[in-house]
């Protein structure tokens, strides 16, 4: 294991070496993949990339479709939504409308990366550098992944989940299990405590605890509802004013798992499984720009290092660079191919520029990044990779140069105005503002509605009230009632959802729907 402080062989990129390429053709063999991996591993060690052990699996296109359809989980429980994903993937692929992903990589220990057999040798090398060394070191180093996921336990946990769900299907029927899973999936993004460190998931521990839970949980639930005061206790003003829960709860799935009055034990366990998966994917949702940027930066850097060492041919580099530029291409906002900022481009640009700021700082850089300009670039990049998520990473490291290169500008769309406003562009007065706006765009609570458990009518009709705090008057989408039906299915009693702005309810949803008094 190497680390930053004692790297054995500082990379020297400008020394010409004798050309002794590992291979010259584009066909791959297992021996060649092994050789490339050995050499890439050496380069990665020179740069101090700290990774989990790698497992590289060569699969066919069909298998890639399978992997794709199970949202990258190598083992998954059965659910129709994965079948739907599979049908649309295979349809697109068969019609040639869509290429398959070059690579899928699993945040596990060992870190599993898939190579497609159709890929040429340079592509396989690209994928190995990108996934097995780029993503892998990110999974191992980034604080969100370290906090929220346990790479060594995830595969075991997925196996446990699969068996548990299958067992439930056998006992309670496929339909009953599917209903619960559907409802849980609808709330999967609301199954995370953002500010509390979760207990790591581990399969054996999980299995043991699951048995215990089965015995105690139901009793605990019953206790909660048994302690409901009798109606005449309502006279007590203190009790009456108190909400349950006293503080709003953002982890809706957890709250339901622990408090829904009517759920069976196995149903609570399934909620837990989906919650744990949501937790597993939570860091990925918050680090897309960083994670892809980091992996792209390293496939670029590592393969160039191979070239500098004379281990790959010019033809290899041409093919690699062509794929690389396709991956980090950013169509402008007015292009027909535009679909938002490309996270690969943004992340790659920031990391690349960060290295430049360290190695060749300008006056502007010294002014904007006094601590970083001129520092050791490897140390700085590792620091950035380890301690941030997209939002704070952009806020901290997006440089004026990258804003200029990408020609970023912000547009405001206010439904109370007749025009769109350009609020900031890539110029001196705009940089800070633009950076702040872009950072906010990657804030999860800005991307997804902020909805929390507000109150349970413990003494009355047991109804559950959720509260939505809108940001900038942005309302809830059309599917809200649909999702509420799922909450209702889990909770078992009436469910209300209120959007509250400055203490007034501006929008409300109910399940079952309220009879409307027209006025």
């Amino acid at each position: 294991m190497t680390n930053l402080m004692d790297r054995p062989n500082p990379p020297e990129s400008d020394q010409p070496r004798a050309r002794e390429p590992i291979s010259t053709g584009s066909e791959w063999t297992f021996e060649l993949i092994q050789k490339y991996d050995d050499e890439i591993a050496k380069c990665a060690a020179e740069f101090g990339l700290d990774t989990y052990p790698n497992q590289v699996e060569v699969i066919s296109a069909e298998q890639m479709m399978d992997a794709y359809s199970s949202v990258g989980m190598p083992v998954g429980y059965h659910h129709w939504s994965f079948g739907k994903q599979f049908l649309s993937t295979s349809k697109g692929y068969q019609r040639g409308q869509m290429g398959l992903a070059y690579e899928i990589v699993i945040n596990s220990n060992p870190c599993i990366a898939y190579l497609m057999e159709e890929n040429t040798l340079p592509m396989q090398a690209l994928v190995i550098a990108h996934a097995s060394y780029g993503h892998n070191s990110f999974f191992k180093g980034n604080y969100l992944f370290r906090t929220w996921t346990d790479a060594s336990a995830i595969i075991d946990y997925l196996v446990f989940a699969r068996h548990y769900v299958a067992e439930c299907e056998e006992r309670y029927g496929v339909d009953a299990v599917e209903e619960i899973l559907d409802s849980c999936h609808a709330l999967m993004n609301y199954g995370v405590d953002r500010y509390k460190r979760p207990a790591p998931i581990s399969a054996s521990e999980e299995m043991r605890r699951q048995k215990e839970r089965e015995e105690y949980q139901q009793r605990r639930i019953n206790d909660l509802w048994r302690t409901i005061p009798k109606p005449d206790d309502d006279d007590d003003p203190v009790r009456r004013g108190k909400r349950y829960p006293e503080e709003p709860q953002e982890n809706i799935l957890y709250f339901i798992e622990k408090n829904a009055p009517l759920l069976e034990t196995w149903q609570r366990e399934i909620i837990r499984i989906v919650r744990k998966l949501g937790q597993y994917f939570y860091p990925q949702r918050q680090t897309q720009v960083m994670n892809e940027g980091w992996a792209s930066f390293w496939h670029y850097t590592l393969l160039h290092r191979l070239y500098d060492k004379g281990l790959v041919t010019d033809g290899f580099m041409l093919e690699f660079l062509q794929s690389h530029s396709a991956v980090v291409y950013q169509p402008p906002f007015n292009s027909p191919w535009y679909s938002g900022l490309n996270p690969y481009t943004l992340g790659f640009s920031i990391f690349t520029d960060l290295r430049r700021i360290c190695e060749n700082p300008t006056d502007e850089d010294r002014e904007w990044f006094p601590d970083i300009a001129g520092s050791d670039w490897l140390e700085t990049l590792h620091f950035a990779m380890k301690n941030f998520k997209d939002e704070s990473f952009i806020q901290q490291f997006l440089s004026p140069k990258v804003m200029r290169d990408l020609k970023l500008f912000a547009i405001q769309n206010d439904d109370q105005e007749d025009v769109y406003r350009v609020t900031a562009i890539h110029d001196e007065p705009g940089y800070r503002d633009l950076r702040e706006k872009l950072a906010r765009q990657y804030n999860l609570s800005y991307r997804e509605p902020n909805i929390q458990v507000w109150n349970v009518d413990v003494r009355g009709d047991r109804s559950l009230t959720l509260r939505h705090i809108p940001v900038d008057r942005v309302p809830l989408g059309k599917e809200t009632d649909e999702v509420l039906r799922h909450v209702h299915r889990l909770w078992g009693f009436d469910v209300h959802l209120e959007s509250v702005e400055d203490g007034t309810v501006v929008e409300d949803h109910h399940c079952p729907p309220r009879e409307f008094e027209e006025d």
Binding site: Q34, S132, S335
Partner: protein
Amino acid sequence: MGMTHIVDRRLNGKNKSAVNRERFLRRYRHHIKRAVSDAVQKRSITDIERGEKVSIPSRDIDEPIFHHGQGGKREVVHPGNQEFVAGDTIPKPEGGGGQGSGQGQASPDGEGMDEFAFQITQEEFLDFLFDDLELPNLARKKLKDTEAFKFVRSGFSTDGVPAKLDVVRSLRGAHARRLGLGGARKKKIRDLEKQLEALKSAPEDLDPAFSHEDQIQVLEEEIARLKANVRRIPFIDEIDLRYRQHLKKPQPATSAVMFCLMDVSGSMTQMHKDIAKRFFILLYLFLKKNYKKIEVVFIRHHTSAKEVDEEEFFYSRETGGTIVSSALKLMHKIIESRYSPAEWNIYAAQASDGDNWNDDSPVCGKILADSILPLVQYFAYVEITPQDHQMLWYEYEKIQEQFPQSFALQQIADPGEIYPVFRQLFERKAA
């Protein structure tokens, strides 16, 4: 840094998604059933065994999650600015109070009524069709299973199992190879032996300088070398082996003709005809599994009968009364002229709403009993009506008593009741 394991997974199963796919079909079975049902209406009854494209409205298969709707105040950062400076305003498109066409953040519900389309396989298609008909599993299996095969000889091949080895051919091949490889050498040996003979029989020169000894020795060595060469040619080699090759051929090679008879008088609605069509399809599928070649004859009738093509059979409308015997008479005529019972297995399926001129029903019974049933394997009659029976039914009941083996009748009001007609048929074939 840990060692990298490189694993070849290509030989592992690829159908990991099969169960999930099945779950998906199960969940949307109603949509798929409808699509299958529509397809059955559109397709020819001889064109049932292929898959089908199914479309489901996207909104029916969406997985809802909480997300933001349109409206409020939003700011989005875009790349590729050309001429904008801070403070610029851009007019919103007409009628779009913030529909945000330029915003790139269109919420998923802005996508409209897209359809989710996918393909089901032939097997799945038949399953859904059989569901509709409430076919028991055993019968399904019989309809879907590939027919019985027998092996027929089809030449020889260079590999196979020892039991299939053809000794004569293999040895013949070996012989040919030995000739091919050794022939030239053997000829040479013969030539050299002749020379040797000549030398040996020539008178020995007294002068040792002209002795033949050396030459003889050279010749003998050469002959010995060639003979050793020839001996090394194996008597039989792996490349000589020939195996008998067999091909699977479908067993039944006989032909069947299927008569579809249907009342198309005014009282038969499209609904009646759709049920009848399923009935005919089932018979067709059944025959297809048992006969290699099937011809289908469509006879429609009201007061008079006519042989028509499938399109006209199911979809053109007639008004007026009903004389069932006209169809039976025509069927008999067609059998006599084109389908000799000696060469053809004859099946008939008749669908009607039970309407007939009362005077005609006894005639029908008589034609069936005297001229048709003796010629056919099986005659099935379905009466598609929820109402009480009329004359024709009672007449046919008498026929069934006389010909329990080859005549079946059933009253049906929905497709699920078609199957019992066939039960007898399947049972008979299974025996």
